[in-house]
Amino acid sequence: SQTIHQWPATLVQPVGSPLSLECTVEGTSNPNLYWYRQAAGRGLQLLFYSVGIGQISSEVPQNLSASRPQDRQFILSSKKLLLSDSGFYLCAWSQGATEAFFGQGTRLTVV
């Protein structure tokens, strides 16, 4: 069966520090991968998606970047965090035009 792992679960980082969130998927190959963010009181906003290794599309201009070094690994990064980067970050995968399956999320607080 397919599983998705996302870590860490919670993270407190000072303004200006770097960020690296990792997500891995098991039990499937060549998945579509996504990073979403849920800011306080808001819905789920798509940040990045990837349809293959090294292929990254950005939906929203921001202080973040994403990379897909391996087929089932998706990384969200920042060189310098801003206070506005605080939120709940979710990784997800799908196979084509089907439902997406989400990880447990990372609560990021920038202080």
Partner: protein, 113 residues
């Protein structure tokens, strides 16, 4: 620009009654619609979906209705149970973006005993 809209931020329903959650969309390219359930500090879990070639899909207590001409879909939960209390997100995909889902802002459902 919000392409998927859930205009009711919250809904309270008595146990055993019907819960109806509504969703509107603006992009006519959307061809696949989903509902997710989410608890605090957890990832959303898939509930039910419907493709644009159908107008109804049923799974146990959950039924999703799609009205393409009105660009509207709804989720019916019958009968509602206290365990259904959660935030429900409507989502839609189609027209590119790697099948990425466009989400509404969610409706918080409270089912009271």
């Amino acid at each position: 620009d919000q392409q998927v809209k859930q205009n009711s931020p919250s809904l309270s329903v008595q146990e055993g009654r019907i819960s109806i959650l509504n969703c509107d969309y603006t992009n006519s390219m959307f061809d696949y619609f989903l509902w997710y359930k989410k608890y605090p500090a957890e990832g959303p879990t898939f509930l039910i979906s419907i493709s644009s070639i159908k107008d109804k899909n049923e799974d146990g207590r959950f039924t999703v209705f799609l009205n393409k001409s009105a660009k509207h879909l709804s989720l019916h939960i019958v009968p509602s149970q206290p365990g259904d209390s959660a935030v429900y997100f409507c989502a839609a995909s189609g027209g590119g973006s790697g099948y990425a889902l466009n989400f509404g802002k969610g409706t918080s459902l409270l089912v009271t005993p």
